[in-house]
Amino acid sequence: MIKSDIIIIGAGPCGLFSVFEAGLLKMRCHLIDSLPQPGGQCSEIYPKKPIYDIPGFPEILAGDLIKNLMKQIAPFNPGFTLGERVEIIKKQSDDSFFVVTNRGTEHSCRVIVIAAGLGCFEPRKPMVENLSFFEDKGVDYIIKDPFKFKGKKVVVSGGGDSALDWAIYLADGIASQVTLVHRRDSFRGHVESVEKIHKMSNSGKINLITNAEVQALKGADKLTSLTIKAEKNNFSIETDYWVPLFGLTPKLGPIANWGLNLNKNAIEVNTYDYSTNIEGIYAIGDINTYPGKLKLILSGFHESALMCQSAFKYIFPNGKKSFKYTTVLGGIEGF
């Protein structure tokens, strides 16, 4: 059981910044995100796009903003559970919360902060018969630990950056055989990655199959082969794993079952402190709604600061904390 003062559901920019604001008040945070990396939309959808409305940064790449936030919160040593979706939230008799992820990881905390953005990033699943049967039995939609593919035969499907990057990475001394299957013959990934894929295909390091799709999965109790539908013929290929990487899309998911007041897939909050209808649960960033809400990173940062003040009073009803600027004590070490 992982114990913390605050569990933050969602490691997007607003969830990350909450660690800082909570840290100034000496509250320890643990972040949980269904993505294998922190950064939410900034990392998943537009890491290489510049943002122009972060105060103090005339221009900053979304990916760099996340790197900076990670650096800013590092001194507070937050815990991370990545690649797992929060499934269950239960209030205990002592008013603490019990939180369980889809992988069964158990957490307990005093306060929950939902910074879940547009919802849980879930993989787009291809329409192939028996797909769900083979999930975790040879079919993986996100790669959390690439070394699980050590010495194995892997088929990757997709034409975007993550399909290209993982195919290149796994073919470089990890998997025993890597096949990349794509529906077209042009790719969406970065030019350098596309060039590398073609080079590796020419040198026989990657088996590249274009204008083709995986049509069927076979295996008794785990995946052993795939049927590929190509332009001219169908053929079968032996494999230990199939990793379809068709991008991720946010879905509200389990949040709908937690008894929170929702309005069009967003959580209603009190703008005094961004608290929800359940005492001890707050919602900040893109996931919340209130009159005048703007889905901007800077709004989420502001919400996070006010929320932490209220969370402190909730966790430590007798605790005294006078408001201080970070400059006054010569940096965060003084807090």
């Binding site: 939309q41 787009r124 969406r188 069009k264 897939n265």
Partner: protein, 104 residues
């Protein structure tokens, strides 16, 4: 003010008809989203595919950019009728267009 009609068939097969001004300067995704349909996660940059629709009747609409084409190629459920409707500006020729919203 000149208006056009847009037909929508949602993920449950239900039909909706929207009326929109021609001089709004909006794209199709913005018009559909403003009616309460969930889409537009990337704000209309062909980066998220939340606005993926099938357009069956052949309307005189703009051609796909490379970015749109590449994003559509990455989806497992795209076909020749697929468009990212954030890439289609509102114009007269769209009057009567039928958009079939795609389930992700």
């Amino acid at each position: 003010m000149e208006k056009i009609l847009i037909n929508i068939i949602d993920q449950n097969g239900e039909k909706h008809v929207l009326e929109t001004n021609l001089d709004s300067g909006l794209n199709l995704m913005e018009v559909v989203r403003d009616e309460g349909f969930q889409m537009g996660n990337c704000g209309g940059m062909a980066l998220c595919a939340s606005c993926h629709c099938y357009i069956q009747n052949s309307h005189d609409i703009n051609k796909k950019s490379k970015a749109e084409e590449d994003m559509l190629n990455q989806l497992h459920n795209s076909n020749l009728e697929s468009r990212l409707i954030c890439q289609i500006p509102i114009k007269k020729e769209l009057n009567g267009v039928v958009l079939i919203l795609v389930d992700d």
